[in-house]
């Protein structure tokens, strides 16, 4: 157990981070069918802005969190209008649009590196660095914060998407764009909003993971890839899938590193992703429609 519990804590903490990133991927995908490859860089921007505001400027945590999420949400909305919408209007293929999001991610990365700085910044946890001891095991307060905020975000998005008019509009847009337009829904803004919400949630993931190590302009790619892998494992466009995919990836990584060997950790996590894709191309919870929509 001395071995199992710490691995479990590591797995669930980073599983939650992957859940948030997968959720961000899914929110954007479900409204627009676009896989937003700038997501990893949004995580990075979130980590950097929050460490500047909270660790360096000592602003209140709640303010830091909201401000960071809003700024990155705006970056997401800008992404839609700069990189995605112009291509959609030209009836560009989905592949071109996805490549454009990749371009936007490089712009983000270089802007941060050159404008804000290339060095690694330390981030601090609002709950402090001293581990809490529960039953003889050390748990970082930040891990608890990660799990707590992930649950809150999941509940919040579930509520908005299933119980509000806005959520209904988003789902209508995802279901049938032209139909939604005819119903008087401003489809453009709904999609832009989803890019924003995706950015905001990705920023939260960045804010939460930075205190475990550091924030630098180069951390985005890894989290983009792992967040995307979690999305794929769970199934594109499926929210339950985000949860299962994120946790599966977090645990796989931690346990494979611990029990099989460190050189296998990431490899095994990604091999499992491939296996799932071979057996169920639409992911564990993905529906066939999503797959077809993706092919259009």
């Amino acid at each position: 157990m001395d071995f199992f519990i710490p691995l479990f804590i590591s797995g669930i903490t980073f599983g939650c981070i992957y859940i948030l990133i997968a959720l961000a991927f899914n929110i954007v995908f479900s409204s627009s069918n676009v896989i937003n490859f700038a997501m990893g860089e949004m995580v990075m921007v979130g980590a950097i802005i929050s460490s500047i505001l909270y660790a360096e400027e000592r602003l209140p945590f709640i303010f830091t969190m909201l401000f960071t999420m809003i700024i990155v949400a705006l970056l997401g909305i800008i992404e839609y209008f700069v990189a995605v919408r112009p291509l959609r209007r030209k009836n560009a293929t989905l592949i071109s649009i996805v490549i454009a999001t990749l371009g936007y991610s490089i712009v983000l990365k270089m802007l941060v590196a050159l404008g804000i700085g290339k060095e690694e910044r330390s981030a601090i946890s609002p709950l402090g660095d001293n581990p809490i001891t529960i039953g003889g095991y050390n748990i970082l307060p930040q891990s608890i914060l990660v799990v707590g905020l992930t649950i809150i975000i999941l509940l919040l998005t579930w509520f908005v998407f299933n119980k509000t008019m806005l959520g209904l509009s988003i789902r209508a847009t995802a279901f049938h764009m032209d139909g939604a337009k005819l119903m008087g829904i401003n489809v453009e803004w709904i999609i832009a909003l989803c890019f924003g919400v995706g950015g905001g949630i990705a920023a939260l993931a960045g804010l939460l993971l930075a205190p475990f190590s550091y924030a630098s302009p180069w951390i985005g790619l890894t989290y983009g890839i792992f967040g995307f892998a979690a999305t794929i494992i769970g199934g594109l466009g499926n929210w339950v899938g985000s949860i299962v995919g994120g946790l599966a990836l977090g645990f796989l990584e931690a346990f494979a590193t611990g029990y099989i060997g460190s050189e296998w950790g990431e490899g095994i996590a990604l091999i499992v992703m491939l296996l799932i894709l071979f057996i169920r191309p639409s992911g564990l919870f993905g529906s066939q429609e999503v797959q077809e929509a993706g092919e259009n």
Binding site: P86, N91, G103, M110
Partner: protein, 400 residues
């Protein structure tokens, strides 16, 4: 339709280029990206005036920029000093710097540009061994002398006529900390990153420990840039490692120390000079106090102290670790060669090969840099010492 789409892509690309250009000049490190424009201006007016051109490449952005930036600054400082004191027999040195982002492919492109378009007299850089290994054949083929000051991989100069190294190689460093570990009589664990540099460190650490009759109880690897290395540390703890040899760069070593503390695993950590980056202290804070690493700077050496002073005056920060002094020495070693050989590259190479007992700012007090026709590595075991972290600063390590 399609052509319009292409237009958007081109526009996007142009935008990216402009943005990266603008960002560079507004920054304190802007000189790096400026140099290319200076270069163009220099080309137009040059020609009638004799000048020596040095090409420099290094990781000026990216994770290894903590090595590349100080080296660039030190090279700029040395060139300024030389030019202000009469240059090389009256001729000035001009620097062209490029950012290889620690990317071997970019490195090769830059090397080719230096030897064909810029026609440099000599080359300094890069910062990373993987890039050095990729660039070396270009300079060999073009017959341009290259001083690869920072890379430590032992293969960089092996069998090469035109390539020179200054930093103590990975093997030399491993020898040094292996003997330190052996004296401790503790069970040894190894943790390293999966870059080619990290793998080489692991290999040499295992080899050198073996020579001293020590078998590591566990060897763990990690991917650069992840936020949690608890699983690896749990394995090392389970295997009973009492001291860790770390083939890591600064930021990862900081995270490892932090994670170790979280699982109540407090063991000494030793490793090569690449651990000694300012980021180690900034990120690791209290957790990295007492970490020990090899280093080719000697905080008490007068030449090094003087260098730190003039560096601080120009750039506003004090270089405490190995990277800046290595770049600085590379320029002065080239100066010596230029003075006797002029622009004749073969003669520059010969002059470098005959460099004997050069006292640089790098290296432990009393050590010197020499090259021989069959040995192009500069600093040897006698130049290596230990640094440690004390009260948030890099200081000389002394055994209590």
């Amino acid at each position: 339709m399609k052509s319009k789409m292409n237009l958007v892509f081109v526009a996007l690309l142009v935008l990216m280029i402009i943005m990266s250009g603008c960002g560079g000049t507004s920054q304190e490190s802007g000189k790096a990206s400026d140099s290319s424009s200076q270069n163009v201006a220099g080309k137009e007016t040059g020609g009638d005036e004799d000048e020596f051109v040095i090409g420099l490449s290094g990781a000026l952005t990216g994770g290894s920029s903590a090595l590349g930036q100080p080296q660039l600054h030190a090279v700029q400082l040395a060139i300024e000093e030389i030019n202000n004191s009469g240059g090389i027999n009256g001729a000035k040195i001009r620097l062209i710097s490029e950012d290889d982002q620690a990317n071997p492919t970019k490195g090769v492109t830059i090397a080719q540009k230096f030897v064909t378009k810029d026609n440099v007299d000599a080359f300094i850089g890069p910062t990373n061994s993987s890039v050095a290994l990729a660039m070396a054949p270009v300079f060999e083929k073009a017959q341009v002398p290259a001083i690869m000051a920072i890379p430590t991989n032992d293969d960089v100069t092996k069998g090469k006529k035109w390539i020179f190294q200054i930093d103590a190689t990975s093997k030399t460093q491993a020898e040094f900390f292996a003997s330190y570990v052996a004296k401790k009589k503790m069970k040894v664990g190894i943790i390293h990153d999966t870059t080619s540099w990290g793998e080489a460190n692991k290999k040499f650490a295992i080899e050198e420990l073996k020579k001293l009759g020590i078998e590591p109880v566990a060897v763990e690897s990690l991917t650069v840039g992840k936020n949690d290395y608890t699983p690896q540390l749990l394995n090392l703890k389970k295997a009973g490692a009492e001291i860790l040899v770390a083939g890591l760069l600064g930021p990862e070593a900081a995270v490892v120390s932090k994670n170790a503390k979280q699982i109540n695993y407090t063991v000494p950590i030793v490793g090569p000079n690449a651990l000694a980056q300012s980021s180690l202290i900034e990120l690791g804070k209290k957790d990295v106090e007492g970490m020990v690493f090899t280093s080719i700077v000697d905080p008490e050496k007068p030449e090094f102290k003087k260098f730190q002073e003039s560096f601080n005056k120009k750039f506003g920060y004090i270089p405490e670790t190995d990277w800046a002094p290595l770049g600085y020495d590379a320029v002065y070693i080239l100066k010596k060669a230029f003075e006797v050989a002029g622009h004749d590259k073969e003669k520059i190479r010969e002059a470098l090969e005959n460099l004997n007992n050069y006292v640089g700012v790098s290296g432990k007090a009393g050590s010197t840099i020499s090259f021989k026709p069959d040995d192009h590595t500069g600093l040897k075991a006698d130049a290596v010492g230990f640094l440690t972290v004390k009260n948030g600063r890099f200081v000389k390590y002394s055994e209590k």
